[in-house]
Symmetry: C2
Subunit: 299 residues, 2 copies
C-alpha cells in the first residue's frame, strides 16, 4: 500500500472510531491519533499511528482531522474548547466530524471553525461496529461540495457508500433520518419474533423465510439471529441508541413534527433503561416487547 | 421447456395469482385454471391453460390444486362449499393454499380436507406483485413434510426461497409474522422520509445513503422511491394490508399478545381508510404520517 500524502488526525477511538482509524492506517494514510483515555492510542501506535496528547496537537500535525465522539457537547469541547482543534488550527485545515450529533450543533460548530478558516464536514455513519471494521459503512455528508470531493478518498477508506447530502448539518440530519429507519425496523424484528415464538414457530426458519421477502431488512439479517439466540451483547449500546433518539426527537420538536413510531421505539428502549439494561445491545428491545406480554423469562 | 407430468390446478387469478399461474405454465406444468370472474381465465387460456367452470372441476382434473384468494372465508368456500374442491376431490389430491388467512382457519380446512383423504399445505407468500411476476417470492409452508417435498418443484416455479416452517397452519402464522416486519419497516420508511422532507433534505440522496447502512430494508428500496415520488398506485392495496393486520391482531388476541408497533401501523392505515384511500398502495402510509404533522399537501 503506497503512503498517502495527506496527514490525517483522528480523535475518538471508541467502538467505532478505533476500527475506522485502523482502516485509514491500512489504506496508507499517516495518522495522528488522540483519545481521552490513553490505552486505545497506544494500541493504534503499535500499528503505526503517531500518538498526540491533545486535540490541539492533532490539529497542528494533520491536514484533515476526523472526530468520532459520543454526543454534541463532546464535539463542541474537542473542536472549540480549551486544548481543542481550534487552538491548533490553521487556514485550510479540514475537520470531518463523523459523530452523530444535533444538526443545529453541527452547523454552529462549522460556523465557528469557519471563522478561523477551517472547513468542516459533518459525516456520520451507519453500519455499526461490524461495518466500521469491514470498511463498509454508509457515510452521509454535509458541507461544501469541494471539501467533500477532496476528502472522498479518505472517506472511502472507511465506507462503501458515501453520499453528499447537502450543506453543513444535512449529513447530521440524514443520520437522524437513518436512525428512524433503524429503530422501527428493530421494533419490527422484535414483534415478528415475539409473535413467532409465542405461536411456537421455529425462529430460525421464520427469519430465513421473512428475510427473503418484503419483510427483509439489515436489522432482520443482523439482529434477528441475535434476538433468536438471546445474545444481547453490544453491538450498539441501548444507551447510545437513546442518545440518538433524543437527537431525533429534539430535531423533530424544533419542527413541530410528530413521529409516533419513533416515539414508540424510544419508549420501548426506555423500558430497558428502567430495568437497568442500557448497556445491552439494541437487539435487546425484544425484551421490552416480551415484558409487555409477560413473556420476559428466557425460553 | 419439457412438459411436466403433474397436472396443476389454480384457483384465484388476481394481482398475485395470475402471474404465479403464468410462471407455472412457463415452467411446463399443464394448468387448469378457475377464477370467479372469467376474464382472467380467458387471458391464461390464451397462454395455454385449460379453463374450468368451478373449483370442483379444477379438483377433478388436477393432481395439485393451488388457491390464491383474498381471505379465510373465500378459502373455506372454495375448498369446502358447494361446487368446491372437496366435491371434486379424490384420495391423494394435494391442495396448496397460498392465500394469507388465519392459521386457525387453515388448520380447520386442512382437517376437513384430510377427512376426505386430501392433503393440504398452507403456503403463503411475500414479495408482492413484482415478486409474483419475477418468480422470486418467499414462500413459507405449513403441513406434512412429505407433501412439502413432493410439491417443492411446483413452489420453486413461483418462488426463490421456499421454507418449510412446520405443521399445518404454521406457514400461515409465519406469514402473519412476516406482515409485522413489513408494516413496521414501512412505518420506518415513512417517518424517515417525512423527517427528511421537513428538514429540507434531498429525498433521493437520503434513500441512497440510508439504503446502504443499518436502516436498509426491502421496503426502503422498493417503497421508498415511490413515497418520494408521491406515486401511490398499488402495488399492494391498503385494503388488503388491513385484512392481513386484522388476521395478525386476531391471532395475537387469541394468545393475549400485545403488539404496540403493529397496532400503530394498523391505526395509520386506518387513517387512510378514514380518508377514503383504502385502494391506494401501502406506500401511501406516508400520507397518514404527513397528515398528523399537517404536511398533507403535495410538495
Amino acid at each position: 500500500m503506497p503512503q498517502r500524502d495527506v496527514n490525517v488526525g483522528f480523535i475518538g477511538l471508541g467502538h467505532m472510531g478505533k476500527p475506522m482509524a485502523r482502516n485509514l492506517l491500512q489504506a496508507g494514510y499517516p495518522l495522528v491519533a488522540h483519545n481521552r483515555s490513553r490505552a486505545a492510542v497506544d494500541d493504534l501506535a503499535r500499528e503505526g499511528a503517531q500518538p498526540a496528547a491533545s486535540a490541539r496537537e492533532v490539529a497542528e500535525r494533520a491536514d484533515v482531522v476526523i472526530t468520532m465522539l459520543p454526543d454534541s457537547p463532546d464535539v463542541e469541547l474537542v473542536a472549540l474548547g480549551p486544548g481543542g482543534i481550534v487552538e491548533g488550527a490553521r487556514e485550510g485545515l479540514v475537520v470531518i466530524d463523523m459523530s452523530t450529533i444535533l444538526p443545529r450543533a453541527s452547523r454552529d460548530i462549522a460556523a465557528r471553525l469557519g471563522d478561523q478558516g477551517v472547513v468542516m464536514l459533518d459525516a456520520p455513519v451507519s453500519g455499526g461496529p461490524q461495518g466500521a471494521q469491514a470498511g463498509t459503512l454508509a457515510i452521509m455528508v454535509g458541507g461544501p461540495r469541494d471539501a467533500f470531493d477532496r476528502c472522498l478518498p479518505i472517506l472511502e477508506a472507511m465506507g462503501r457508500k458515501i453520499v453528499h447530502i447537502g450543506g453543513n448539518g444535512q449529513g447530521a440530519m440524514a443520520k437522524l433520518c437513518n436512525q428512524v429507519a433503524c429503530v422501527l425496523n428493530l421494533v419490527g424484528v422484535a414483534e415478528t419474533l415475539v409473535l413467532a415464538r409465542r405461536a411456537g414457530l421455529d425462529l430460525g426458519r421464520v427469519l430465513e423465510a421473512v428475510g427473503a421477502g418484503a419483510g427483509s431488512s439489515w436489522m432482520l439479517a443482523n439482529q434477528g439471529p441475535k434476538m433468536a439466540a438471546r445474545d444481547f451483547a453490544p453491538g450498539f449500546f441501548i444507551r447510545l441508541q437513546q442518545k440518538d433518539l433524543r437527537l431525533v426527537m429534539a430535531a423533530a420538536e424544533e419542527m413541530n413534527l410528530p413521529l409516533l413510531g419513533t416515539a414508540l421505539a424510544q419508549q420501548l428502549f426506555r423500558a430497558l433503561e428502567a430495568g437497568g439494561e442500557a448497556e445491552l445491545g439494541t437487539q435487546a428491545i425484544i425484551k421490552a416487547v416480551e415484558r409487555l406480554a409477560a413473556l420476559d423469562r428466557p425460553i
